[in-house]
């Protein structure tokens, strides 16, 4: 059975995956970018944006795992962009003309919009009839491969609360944000795998029990 997988959800020691005051100039909120610095130290992380070099150890493997066996991505509207209400202008996501997905991406929204085809094989589809429908369409598009759940916090929380997530990978970052976006209420029904670290972050993985 194809699985719904969360990878590299970078979280502070106080349990926040994004800082407060998110907006167009601050998509990850105040202090949020620091959560993701470890990704861009790795070869897989640099390759996402066309960069070269980077480490090849545990952190690299964790980032690379998030691109393996994935046929579609699901994300919330807040991860796609800072727009509130009906779509205006021509917002095309945070990732430039060639987003690092290279497969169909399903964006949860209350406001209809035509599919948006980008370079490199990424097409954004805007889904207005709810989470379950979006998941169904994502699994159909994935053609037997797994679906990656991108974020943000509210979408991850909704999927965890309904036990829709099969595999969850957190990267716990040794910093404190104080306030921000929280990704889960409880992890009842999930089982932790052994914690792993090579120094920058702690990788904590959960799988549906």
């Amino acid at each position: 059975m194809p699985r719904l997988r969360v990878h590299c959800l970078s979280m502070s020691l106080d349990g926040f995956v994004a800082g407060p005051d998110q907006g167009p100039d601050d998509p990850l909120g105040k202090g949020g970018p620091g959560l993701h610095e470890w990704v861009f130290e790795t070869r897989a992380g640099r390759a996402m944006t066309g960069g070269e070099g980077g480490t090849e150890g545990l952190d690299h493997r964790m980032v690379a795992d998030g691109f393996t066996g994935i046929g579609a991505t699901l994300m919330g509207r807040n991860m796609f962009g800072p727009i509130r209400g009906p779509w205006t202008g021509d917002w095309q996501g945070w990732w430039g003309p060639n987003p690092p997905y290279h497969h169909p991406v399903f964006v949860l929204t209350h406001h209809p919009r035509e599919p948006l085809e980008m370079d490199g094989g990424t097409t954004f589809h805007f889904i207005t009839d709810g989470l379950e429908s979006a998941l169904e369409q994502a699994f159909a598009a994935a053609g037997g491969q797994d679906v990656r759940l991108g974020g943000g916090a509210a979408t991850v929380r909704a999927c965890l609360d309904k036990k829709l997530v099969d595999d969850l990978h957190l990267a716990v970052v040794p910093m404190v944000l104080g306030t921000g976006e929280q990704p889960f209420g409880s992890l009842a029904g999930y089982r932790a795998l052994p914690v792993e670290s090579e120094g920058a972050v702690a990788h904590v993985r959960f799988t549906k029990a």
Copy 2:
């Protein structure tokens, strides 16, 4: 210079060091005991209560470090007992007749009480004139060794906010409590050491920058 050190502060992924609803039958709050299970897998953790056996790897060394070079302990009233208001009865702490300290322990309280001498070298001193005075007395009693800050959450938070803590060791446990006691507002002024793990928990240490 002797240092003020926090060891083995076991914390959930959502940043809680004790669960909600603490009380005489639930000193660590709902779900709180699960945070400390890793300690009792180690040889040093078992030895605390007179037990034998246990693991001897990284987790053991982290527990053992908390007993090395320590001449006195400081703790808040809530870590000593569930009593509120003036002292009544003969509450002698959670640890039985021979507490695992074996040195002077300074308990912050608003209510005076005579020192309480226990078996094995532990004497509890009840300090009513504030945190700075308690620290001064603890360092004097430690005779040139370091002072361990035991907890609970409120006392650790007060000491971190005032940058009185020199070394902080968190053990991040792969579980979620949802609510409970939080040990810090921010860690501004502290620098993280490399994260270490052998599977059960992530050891994250900070030192005053």
